[in-house]
Amino acid sequence: MRRFFWLLVALLGLALAQKEVRISGWGGTDVAIVNGLLKEVVQPKLDKEGIRVVYQPIEGDYTQWLFNALSAGTAPDLFYVDIFWSESLFATGRVEPLDAYFSRQEVSEFLPNLIQAFTYKGKLYGIPKDFNTLALQFNTDLFDEAGVPYPNQQDTWETFEAKLRQVQAKLKDVAGLCLVADFARFGAFAFATGWKPFDEKGHTVLDQNFRRAFEWYTGLVQRGAARFAQDLGEGWTGGCFGGEKAATALEGAWIAGFLRDKAPNLRYRTTFLPLDPVTKKRGNFVYTVSWSLNAASKDKQAAVKVLKALTSPEAQQWVLERGLAIPSRRALANNPYFQRPGKEPELNRIVFAGSGAQGGNVYPFKFLGYGGDWMRPINEALQAVITGQKSVDQALKDAQAALDRLTGRR
């Protein structure tokens, strides 16, 4: 009896000595990834330190949940921060700056533009977990059937469009591309012209460069190179691509998982987005997510250890090899995984390279904390022109007026 009692005391002591770090991210496919990562890579490392990681994935609207939890003081120690709403969150002061916990050397091992994306007012607020950029996927069977050469990285908007037109003309029921009225796709082309979302005063000016990209993009439908996604019953270019309703798609590496489920036998390849014929440059977005630290965390040192384990080279290698996400460490650029033959390593390699020099004018997918309010006028202008409800002049004028109201430019 007495022995049993002491055993219990010892166990209790062990439990108390163990530190618990709570982490959260979104649900869906991420749950399996993070659970696997924790079990195989992260937890074994932390066992020695006496740290136990408790993972709480959030199904449903993660952003709402996180903002509420941070406001109520119930947020976990570590959580995902999407670049899209990162600035609004960092501005609240509820996220701990990481400069004190990471050495300059440690930070420099991550891709510099991702580090830049999570730097707000000179401080680093998140370690990029992974990232994505846009790439051009094309269905090789459809291009072969139409007898049209594949898109390649020398294509300009014009040569690319000519290929799309040929495919659409030859294969009557297949669109060259299915077009979405979304800045998250169109923006890449606007960046290619050298246009910037904000000037130094923080205002948005839809100038001649923007207009050039806008006219080209919205005109694709009329010129017989693309169809409007909604007319094909789809909400994103990947949906059209997976259903073979369109011969090309403009998506990131996330499309791989979708295609694996929806169309496992679909033969596709990937290349870079086409070049602006005038500037001879391309543009791209970086969509990225960080692990960030709760400023109200009870044991920040333990949490930082978990953060380091989650973004360690071993963890990123594990994720990469399963073809799950594009890791954020510079050293992984030369990883043998990217050189493997096959549609998915190729897709991942191009998406990885899309964030660097080959991507051209690359901007993180964030808009000074205005978020969706900033994109809405542009999205509506795109939609109105694509569906033929407004002229380009009228649509841009309306969008400019709405953006002026938002950013305080009169």
């Binding site: 609207d61 952003t63 709402q64 903002f67 509420n68 941070l70 406001s71 899209f84 709403w85 609004s88 501005a91 609240t92 002061g93 509820r94 009225a181 409007f228 909604q230 007319d231 094909l232 019953g233 909400g235 964030k366 808009f367 904390g369 205005y370 978020g371 969706g372 309010d373 809405r376 509506e380 939609q383 109105a384 569906t387 409800q389």
Partner: protein, 367 residues
């Protein structure tokens, strides 16, 4: 000391009511008072609220989006409440008759209300796509107009001929005689078929491609997508109210109808003088619930705006405006502004229900 019977009773009542009073206090009263306070501050969930007086309310009425939301909410509420009350009553009266298999029809007509709003919204997206069923049906109708026109013309010719023949033989005949109409229709149908085979009647080249959802186009001052939501919601809420009306109809004594029939009252008189006045308590319930429900339209706006690609200005309602400001995509929560909008919505709902009670259908029944 022994408590009096009445005091004991009161205590028991209080005890039993306590759980409800608690939830009411916490989730309604406390939440309401906090929202009321926040509506005068610039609260954003994080920094402590700063008093800014009526600034939020002033900002609301300068925000074009809020004014659009207000207009949509009022129009939507009026139209849907009127439509659903009228059709629910009509359907209930029809299903209250001693028909063969009436239980089957009641079940059938009740089905739409079982569908969740999410599923109904998906159906709506599917129906109103540019290549959806609505446009296809319209295309088919317009393309076959020559056939339909010929069918009608042939029908009239045949029917006229039959009538003339009957008159010639001095027989009593009516244009609306079902037997001869069936014959004429058959003849006209075969005639059109033959003409189509000969290539004399050809379908038109029509393809209707109206963008119902991703559009800002309006009809009678309201955007197309909102009309689509109006149609859908009327369709899915009619059954619930129909059941209420059916219950009300069961409570009307048969003897009244029998007496009216003896006095020679027609169907319209019985309906307007007996059915409607005796249904007033139910009518009040239906109209009030309809108004409150429609003023809070939210989920369809979310779905039609999200997956349907409808522009925000074409579908936004007050409830969505509140939500959109508490959780703006990618920006900091604007709790103060949202609270002010929520209070405007609450006040509006109260005002409309009171006005309805005062000037519309009241719950006082026939006495």
């Amino acid at each position: 000391m022994r408590l009096k019977m009445r005091t004991m009773e009161g205590l028991y009542a209080l005890l039993l009511l306590l759980p409800f009073l608690f939830t009411l206090g916490v989730f309604f009263l406390y939440a309401f008072l906090r929202a009321f306070y926040f509506s005068f501050t610039d609260y954003n969930l994080f920094s402590s609220p700063r008093w800014i007086g009526l600034a939020n309310y002033l900002r609301l009425f300068q925000d074009p989006l809020f004014l659009t939301a207000l207009k949509h909410t009022l129009a939507y509420s009026a139209i849907v409440t009127a439509l659903q009350t009228f059709f629910a009553l009509l359907l209930a009266v029809a299903l209250n008759r001693p028909l063969r298999g009436v239980t089957f029809f009641r079940t059938l007509y009740y089905l739409p209300s079982v569908v969740s709003t999410a599923a109904a919204s998906l159906l709506l997206l599917w129906l109103f796509q540019r290549t959806g069923l609505v446009n296809q049906a319209l295309s088919l109708f317009l393309a076959r107009l020559p056939h339909l026109g010929t069918l009608l013309a042939l029908f009239l010719v045949f029917q006229g001929a039959q009538l003339a023949w009957a008159r010639h033989r001095k027989e009593a005949a009516s244009f609306w005689d079902p037997a001869s109409a069936t014959l004429s229709f058959l003849g006209a149908f075969l005639g059109v078929y033959a003409l189509a085979l000969l290539g004399l009647v050809r379908p038109l080249e029509v393809r209707v491609e109206i963008p119902w959802l991703p559009t800002r186009a309006t009809f009678l001052g309201l955007p197309y997508p909102l009309w689509a939501i109006i149609l859908m919601n009327t369709y899915t809420t009619i059954p619930t109210f129909m059941v209420l009306f059916l219950a009300g109809l069961k409570g009307i004594p048969r003897t009244l109808y029998e007496a009216a029939a003896l006095d020679g009252a027609g169907p319209w008189v019985t309906f307007s003088r007996i059915t409607v006045p005796l249904l007033r308590p139910v009518l009040f319930l239906v109209v009030t619930m309809g108004l409150i429900g429609t003023l809070q339209l939210f989920d369809q706006v979310l779905f039609v705006g999200g997956s349907g690609g409808a522009p925000l200005e074409s579908t936004i309602t007050l409830a969505y405006y509140v939500y959109g400001n508490v959780f703006p995509s990618g920006a900091q929560p604007r709790v103060g502004l949202a609270s002010a909008a929520a209070l405007v919505l609450a006040g509006l709902t109260l005002l409309i229900v009171l006005l309805q009670r005062r000037f519309g259908v009241s719950e006082r029944g026939w006495s």
